[in-house]
């Protein structure tokens, strides 16, 4: 658990982070978003003391980070960055095993752990273990970067725009991968990005920063529905917000039981998002979809009225 209490950072006369208070619970994935220069990266880097804060306190499980020796603190916290920072003169295997070796794990245990992590991140040991970073694609390098950050099984993971330099398709697949990993590992993650879709997709808690301050924080849906001010509103996509929210909600949320009417011809999977459902309606020019389960058996239906959340006679809203 990470706690920032009235934390301020000044560079000379410039206040980069201004009186920020934030608490990230165990197992929570907290995403810091904002325009460039808003202090989100600085905030992240103060947690593992790559930057020392000027005022306030930062606690890790109740203990001020200043009380740790820098190196000891950092070895307890996983760290992944946009440029990956993989050591170009080391093989993938050696790169991943870095922190365990710093912690003086026995060689056999380091090797086991590297194998485990490479399997976890879908990197074939035989193919990649002996490669050098320059021989990897951007997506592969970033997987190795994440594996390295996870190597010593840290409670906490700091990620500074880790997928920022990747093409959209690779980025999405790594976001899925991270969501999958998080569902399994339950790390406490602080994640910095300026990609709003990425933020909405991953965050348990979304923190919007502007000019060094936190303007709003909460669950992504909360922010989408009630942005604190115009800045948050425009950052979240202005007129697009409806679609963004729809992308966060599953079809099952608005589905109604199969009624007496004929089952609709067009279908949508129950795990699909409302946004996908809307897209199908637009594409097929229909107002009703059949919702099907994994075996393609209809289990309910979704009307346009229900999808947009209009309150009506069909049933009370959620």
């Amino acid at each position: 658990m990470i706690e920032l209490i009235h934390v301020t950072k000044r560079f000379g006369d410039v206040v980069a982070v201004d009186d920020v208070s934030l608490s990230v619970g165990k197992g929570e994935l907290c995403v810091l978003v904002g325009t460039s220069g808003c202090g989100k990266s600085t905030t992240l880097r103060m947690i593992n003391r790559l930057i020392e804060h000027s005022d306030g306190e930062i606690h890790l499980d109740g203990q001020p980070v200043r009380e740790f020796r820098e190196e000891v603190l950092r070895r307890r916290i996983g760290y992944a960055i946009q440029s990956t920072g993989l050591f170009p003169h080391w093989t993938v295997e050696r790169n991943i095993g870095l922190v365990p070796r710093l912690l003086k794990w026995p060689a056999s245990r380091v090797r086991e752990r590297v194998e485990e992590l490479m399997a976890l991140l879908d990197l074939s040991m035989g193919e990649f273990a002996g490669k050098y970073p320059s021989q990897l694609s951007g997506g592969q390098a970033q997987r190795v970067g994440v594996a390295r950050a996870l190597a010593a099984d840290p409670e906490i993971l700091l990620m500074d725009e880790p997928f920022g330099a990747l093409d959209p398709i690779t980025r999405e697949s790594l976001q899925d991968e991270l969501a999958r990993l998080q569902a399994r590992l339950h790390k406490t993650i602080v994640f910095v990005t300026h990609d709003m879709d990425e933020a909405l997709r991953l965050a348990d808690r979304l923190v919007v920063m502007h000019q060094g301050r936190i303007v709003q924080q909460g669950h992504p849906i909360e922010l989408l529905r009630e942005p604190a001010d115009e800045f948050v509103e425009s950052l979240l996509g202005g007129e697009d917000r409806g679609l963004k929210e729809a992308a966060l909600l599953p079809v099952s949320e608005r589905m109604t039981p199969l009624g007496p009417r004929l089952v609709a011809k067009e279908r949508v999977a129950q795990h699909a998002t409302l946004r996908e459902a809307l897209s199908i309606m637009l594409w097929r020019h229909v107002e009703r979809l059949a919702v099907v389960d994994d075996d393609d058996i209809p289990i309910g239906e979704l009307s346009l009225r229900r999808l947009v959340g209009a309150r009506g006679h069909e049933s009370p809203g959620p």
Binding site: L50, E71, R75, I81, S83, P88, V99, Y132
Partner: protein
């Protein structure tokens, strides 16, 4: 890195140890078997009594030459890399601009001028030459070590810190290995210049492979000059090809 150096590095890599070995064998043959070539030298100096330099054994001159250059190079590497590392640590950062500027301005000084200026201060003989070579040889090493350390990808440096490596671990495991090719190139420049400058040192009383040349010029004996020039040339090529072999092809 420049095109030419890269190409010759790649070439010498393919040749492996062959090139330095060939030069070394030629150098030793020339040292030991100069008398065999007497007929050849007789052609350039038909009138002189002696055509083979005999005041000292060529092998001894070679040894002295190597000793002077070797000692100076060793000290220059220790001091130069040490200084560059020191001014890139948090404690020595204040000195970084000054040392960087000094290293680049200093390389404008002609080595002969440095050698000549060392004599009034330090006197004649071997020791002043070692000091002059050391001082001059420091500059390319400091400059390249600084360039190598400062040129490391900031992301890599940041990751090393973020993973919890201590200052010493970062230096030994990340910074020095990554800067090594550039540092080695600096050492190569330094040694190449020093082999040449040491030969000129024969004029200020150091006895080495420059001796036959100076003595040949003074006595008007072209054969002596050729013998000295041949040996110094072979020595330089031998050492240079050795460095070319050591220097890894820039792998990115």
């Amino acid at each position: 890195m420049s095109v030419g150096i890269m190409n010759s590095a790649r070439l010498s890599h393919r040749l492996g140890w062959l090139a330095p070995l060939v030069w070394l064998v030629l150098l030793l043959f020339a040292c030991l078997g100069m008398e065999e070539l007497e007929g050849l030298f007789r052609l350039v100096e038909p009138d002189s009594q002696a055509v083979i330099y005999e005041r000292a054994d060529f092998l001894v001159l070679l040894g002295r030459h190597l000793l002077v250059v070797g000692v100076a190079a060793l000290l220059a590497i220790l001091l130069g890399v040490g200084a560059a590392v020191a001014v890139t640590r948090p404690g020595g950062r204040d000195f970084l601009p000054l040392v960087g500027q000094l290293a680049s301005i200093g390389q404008t000084f002609p080595p002969v001028a440095v050698l000549a200026l060392a004599v009034p201060v330090l006197g004649f003989g071997t020791l002043p030459i070692i000091v002059a070579l050391l001082l001059y040889g420091l500059l390319p090493i400091v400059r390249n070590t600084l360039a190598g350390l400062e040129g490391i990808d900031p992301g890599v440096a940041e990751a090393a810190r973020g993973m919890g490596m201590t200052g010493g671990q970062r230096l030994r495991q990340v910074e020095l290995p990554l800067a090594a090719p550039v540092i080695l190139a600096g050492i190569r420049t330094s040694v190449t210049i020093n082999i040449a400058t040491a030969a000129i040192g024969a004029t200020v009383g150091a006895s080495n492979l420059g001796d036959p040349i100076i003595s040949g010029i003074v006595n008007g004996n072209t054969a002596y000059v050729l013998q000295g020039a041949l040996l110094i040339g072979l020595l330089a090529l031998c050492v240079d090809s050795l460095f070319a072999r050591l220097q890894p092809v820039a792998s990115s």
